[in-house]
């Protein structure tokens, strides 16, 4: 099993993601610099980590989405490689056009950093299959611009097609329809604001994030 964590200038959860994936799955994890023009061969999982890529200049994730390595990430995602963008990584996936919608400033203009309860809205995706019958998991959010936005037609489509994967039980940032995480139509690209990488062992308050990484790699 092999995974890659993409490192942008300003990423700050990149090492957390590496440790989280290694400890929860035993996979070998390589760090890939944003300026690279090739990904390591034989990848089963790509992680776009949280942080403030390019200092959030212009818009969160906008510059990172145009990094040289993103052309490779797009190609890999199109080939079906499991790809997860967490927090800033979710913003990058939206800016790159791999997921619909965008993340706006939080409704109450406040940076929120706390554990949140999430409804597992779709337990049939390759990222959530490991939750089995569990309908609720706990992970931490840490964002100032985590307010998911898409037009009504897109939201209807996401809901209708089972692309909404996680919902907030108690919406911390104003996200449309309480959406915390979505997948692409093929189901291999997941974007989410909560951090599974901050919830991979009980000492962190929750180990629910580990199951997400395990599911992603079990289905690879």
């Amino acid at each position: 099993m092999k995974a890659a964590v993409i490192v942008f200038p300003g990423s700050n959860c990149d090492r957390d993601c590496k440790v989280a994936v290694e400890r929860s799955t035993g996979a070998q994890v390589e760090m890939v610099w944003h300026g690279d023009t090739a990904l390591p061969g034989g990848l089963d999982l790509i992680v776009l980590p949280g942080g403030f890529s390019y200092g959030d200049y212009l818009r969160c994730g906008a510059m990172a989405a145009l990094s040289p390595v993103m052309a490779e990430v797009k190609a890999a995602a199109e080939r079906g490689v499991a790809t997860v963008g967490i927090c800033n990584g979710f913003q990058v996936l939206c800016e790159a056009g791999l997921l619909p919608g965008a993340l706006l400033q939080n409704e109450r203009l406040k940076y929120v950093c706390k554990p949140v309860a999430l409804e597992v809205t779709n337990a049939q995706t390759r990222f959530t299959s490991g939750y089995g019958g569990r309908r609720e998991v706990v992970m931490t959010v840490g964002n100032g611009e985590g307010n998911y936005f898409a037009d009504e037609a897109t939201l209807d489509r996401l809901e209708g097609e089972g692309q909404v994967v996680f919902r907030y039980r108690d919406n911390p940032n104003g996200s449309a329809r309480d959406i915390a995480g979505i997948v692409n139509p093929k189901g291999n690209v997941l974007g989410m604001m909560p951090h599974p990488d901050r919830a991979f062992e009980a000492e962190l308050g929750s180990a629910d994030g580990a199951i997400l990484f395990q599911s992603a790699l079990a289905s690879a």
């Binding site: 800016e95 706006l104 898409a150 037009d151 104003g174």
Partner: protein, 79 residues
Amino acid sequence: MKAKVHVFLKPGVLDVQGKAVEQALHGLGWSGVEGVRVGKTIEFDLAADDRAAAEAEVKAMCDKLLANTVIESYRVELA
């Protein structure tokens, strides 16, 4: 040629910053203020002689990078 690009959140997309500024203005006594939107201006020099071509080029820049048309609209000024 000088280009100025004005980027704002689209009407209908909640501009929380604009809302906060509006409330602050109300607090200062300007009760007649409504619909505050906070946007940004990006300006730069562009090597171009032809106005129409320059405008097309700046619009391409907006669509590719300067604005996210899912949530933002933009206006281009050339001088």
